[in-house]
Amino acid sequence: MVLLLALLVGLVTATPAAATERTFVFSRADFAAMIDTFNGEVLARSADFGRQLRIRPDGVKFFGRSCTSLGDGTHVISRIRVLDGADRAAQLAGKRRPNVKLGDALTSMNVAAWNPPTTTRTLAPWWFPDTSQEGAAGFAIAGFKNGDAMGTINASQVTDVIPKFLVQLDLATDVTDGPALLLIGITTDVPPSRLGKMPKRAECFVVAPVYPADLQALVDLLARTPMTDTLRTTVSGILDDASASLAANDPAAAARYAKSFAVAVAHGVGTDISGDAAEKLVVLALLVNDALGI
C-alpha cells in the first residue's frame, strides 16, 4: 500500500509543469551583446566541452559553429530566431545530418523548450517577424533575402536599450524564479566586397538567460518580495486590474496599471518596502509597461 502510494506520488510529481505562455522583450543592445556574453560563458566552461570549443579569429568555434563577435566592426546581425529546443539547433546546424554533438551540448546547458503557437512583434524599423522556419520564432531585416543590409544590428548599438522586439512563447516548463535559458540562432552577415553580391552569412547558436517581461513575472516577483500587508494588498489589486484589462484585450489599460504598480511600489520605499526590493519590482513593472506597448 505504502509502495503504491509512493508510486502515485512519484507519478504526480513527475508530471511536467503546465505549459505557460510567457513574454520576452529584447532591445538591439541585448542582441548586440549576446554573442560576446555567450562566448564568455562557454570559455569559462571550456573544461566541459573539450576540443569542441576552440578560439578562432574574432570569436569561438563551438561544436563546429563559429560565433563571431560584432566587435570586429565587420559582422552585423540580420536575423534572430528563438528555437524550440536543442534538437532544432542540431537540425539547423547540420549539413546533411543533424549536428548531434551540438544538440547534446546545448541540452546539457538546460535550454528552454517551447511549443507552438508563438507571437512575434517588433517596433524596430526595417525588421519583420520571421516564422518561416518550423520551431523558430524570430525576426529578420526586410532585405534578408536579397542581401540589403538596411537595419542590421552592429556593435555600436549596444547603447540602444529600448525594447523593440517581443516574443511570446508557450514554454514547456515554466519559469517562476530566474531567467529562461532561451536558445537563440543569430545570423551574422559580412557585407560583400562587391556591390550586388550577397553578404557572407553564418548562423551561431547561443544560450541567453532572459527574464520574462509579463504580468505573471510581476506576480511571481511580488510573491517572493517582503513588504507590508498594506502595500501588498494595494499592488496585488493593481495587478488584478491589469490582468483583467489584458483579458479584455485592452493592453493599453494593462500597461497603465503596470505603471501604477511601479508608482505604488516606489511610493512605499522606506515605509512599506526596502529600496533593494522595490528596485526590482519598479524596474520590472516599467519593462512590462514597455512590453505591453509593443
Partner: protein
C-alpha cells in the same frame, strides 16, 4: 636672438597649458563594486580578448578560461578562491606586478582597446562589508584583500561565488568622461588562491589576472548629472526634481540619512509617476535604477561599522562622542550642544537658536525662508511653514497643471478629448487624463 626664440616658446608653453588643462579633467566619484561584478568581469574579459581577433596574439584556451600575456583567471571563484581585488589606476601601474616587458605591452594593447579610464591615486574612503577583508594601501591601486592574503592566516576570508553580494566601496579621482549610461570603465586586478589543507598554510595554487568592469558612480553629483542629461521636460526637472535633489544634498551634508533617503524615494517616485508623459519609460527605468543605486550608497555600512563603538563610520551620522566635527550650527541650528543618539543619529535636542520661520534665515529643517515674502497664495513662493512651493499646497505653481480639485479651468474637452472626467494627480499636480475619452 633670444627674444626671437622666446615668443614661440611662450606660445608653445601656453598651448601645452591649454592641452594639459583640457585633458586633466578629474572628478572624484564614489563606486561600489560587488564580488559578483568582479567575477563576471572575467567572462567578459575573456570574450573581449577573443573579439580582438588579430589585434593581439597568443590568447590560449585552458580549462575554465583563457591565458594571455602570462595572466589567467581561469577557474577564479571556483578552483581558485578570491583573495584580493584591486582597482588599478592606469595600465602604467601594471609594471609593479607584470615583470615581462612583452606581457606588459600585450596588456597595454588590450586595455587601450577596451578604453579603460585612468584615475589619479590615491583612492579614498576605501571600505568593505566583507568580513575578514580590509583595505591595503598601495601607491597605484585601491586594493582590498582577505586576511588569508594580508596576514597569511590560513584560508580566512577567501571567497567563492556565494559572496557575490559583498561590496567594495571606494572613491576615485577619475579622468575622462562616463559613457551614455554614466559608467566608467575601470581596470581590475584579481587574485585567487586554492585552499590550503585544513587551514594550515601549505603549498597552494595561484591565479592572477587583469580585467575591466563598467561601473556607475553611486554619489549624488553623478545622479544629478544623469538627471540633467536625461530629463528634458522643464517642469519635471526644475519644479519637481531639482528642489528634491537640493534636499538630498543638504541632508547628506548634515549626515541626516533618514531625510536624504526620504527625499531620494520622492525623486524616484516622481520620475516613475511622470512616465510616459514627461519622460520616456526606458529613461524613467534607467533613472530609477540610478536613484536606487544612490540609495544603496547611503545605506551602505562597512563590516567593521558597529554603532556604539565610539568610532563614526559610513552609515553613521555620529558614534558616541565622535561627531565627525559636526556642531549644532553645521546641522542648521544657531547654537547649542550637538549630541549623538544610541542608534548613531544626531541628537539636536540641546541645539539652541531653534529655527524661526519668517526671519529670512534658513535654519534647522527649513527648506527656505524669505521673511515677509513667504506666502501661501503666491505661486512658487516660499510657504509660511518655510517649505518650498509643493504639490498639495493649494496653489498652482509654475510647473503644475492643477491642485486638488482646482483644474485651472481645464476639462477633458478643452484638452482636445471628446468627453470624460479630468482629474488632478495628487502626487505631482499634473492632469490625470486616464478618464478622458478620445
Amino acid at each position: 636672438m633670444i627674444r626671437a626664440l622666446a615668443a614661440p616658446r611662450l606660445l608653445l608653453a601656453l598651448l601645452l597649458l591649454i592641452i594639459v588643462s583640457a585633458t586633466a579633467h578629474a572628478e572624484p566619484h564614489t563606486f561600489q563594486l560587488t564580488v559578483g561584478d568582479a567575477l563576471t568581469s572575467v567572462d567578459r574579459y575573456n570574450a573581449f580578448l577573443v573579439s580582438l581577433g588579430k589585434q593581439i596574439h597568443g590568447v590560449k584556451l585552458v580549462p575554465g578560461g583563457t591565458v594571455f600575456a602570462h595572466q589567467s583567471c581561469a577557474g577564479l571563484g571556483s578552483v581558485f578562491r578570491v583573495g584580493s581585488i584591486a582597482m588599478v589606476s592606469s595600465p602604467d601601474a601594471l609594471a609593479s606586478t607584470v615583470t615581462s616587458r612583452a606581457a606588459r605591452k600585450a596588456l597595454d594593447t588590450v586595455f587601450a582597446a577596451a578604453g579603460v579610464e585612468t584615475w589619479k591615486p590615491p583612492g579614498l574612503n576605501a571600505e568593505t562589508n566583507l568580513p575578514f577583508w580590509s583595505f591595503v594601501k598601495t601607491d597605484d591601486r585601491v586594493k582590498f584583500a582577505a586576511d588569508a592574503v594580508t596576514t597569511g592566516s590560513g584560508d580566512v576570508g577567501l571567497l567563492g561565488p556565494e559572496a557575490s553580494a559583498g561590496v567594495l566601496r571606494f572613491t576615485l579621482d577619475v579622468h575622462g568622461f562616463p559613457d551614455l549610461f554614466g559608467r566608467y570603465r575601470l581596470m581590475l586586478e584579481l587574485y585567487g588562491r586554492t585552499s590550503s589543507q585544513d587551514g594550515a598554510l601549505v603549498k597552494f595554487g595561484e591565479s592572477r589576472c587583469f580585467t575591466f568592469v563598467d561601473l556607475a558612480p553611486i554619489d549624488l553629483p553623478a545622479f544629478d548629472t544623469l538627471i540633467h542629461a536625461n530629463v528634458t521636460n522643464s517642469r519635471l526637472l526644475h519644479s519637481i526634481l531639482e528642489p528634491r535633489l537640493e534636499v538630498v544634498d543638504t541632508a547628506l551634508l548634515r549626515r541626516d540619512f533618514v531625510r536624504a533617503l526620504d527625499a531620494l524615494a520622492v525623486i524616484v517616485s516622481a520620475i516613475v509617476s511622470h512616465a510616459p508623459t514627461l519622460i520616456t519609460v526606458p529613461k524613467a527605468r534607467f533613472l530609477a535604477e540610478a536613484g536606487y543605486r544612490v540609495r544603496r550608497g547611503v545605506e551602505f555600512s562597512p563590516a567593521n561599522a558597529q554603532c556604539g563603538d565610539g568610532v563614526r563610520q559610513t552609515g553613521e551620522a555620529c558614534d558616541g562622542n565622535d561627531l565627525g566635527g559636526f556642531t549644532c550650527v553645521s546641522v542648521g541650528f544657531g547654537s547649542g550642544t550637538l549630541a549623538c543618539t544610541a542608534d548613531c543619529h544626531f541628537d539636536t535636542s540641546q541645539c539652541g537658536g531653534t529655527a524661526v520661520c519668517g526671519n529670512g534665515i534658513v535654519e534647522g529643517t527649513e527648506e527656505c525662508d524669505n521673511g515677509a515674502a513667504n506666502s501661501n497664495t503666491k505661486p512658487d513662493a516660499c510657504r509660511t511653514n518655510c517649505k518650498r512651493a509643493y504639490c498639495g499646497d493649494g496653489v498652482i505653481d509654475t510647473y503644475e497643471d492643477c491642485e486638488g480639485k482646482n483644474l485651472n479651468g481645464e476639462t477633458c474637452v478643452s484638452l482636445g478629448y471628446t468627453s470624460g472626467k479630468l482629474s488632478c494627480d495628487s502626487v505631482d499636480c499634473v492632469f490625470n487624463e486616464d478618464n478622458c475619452n478620445d
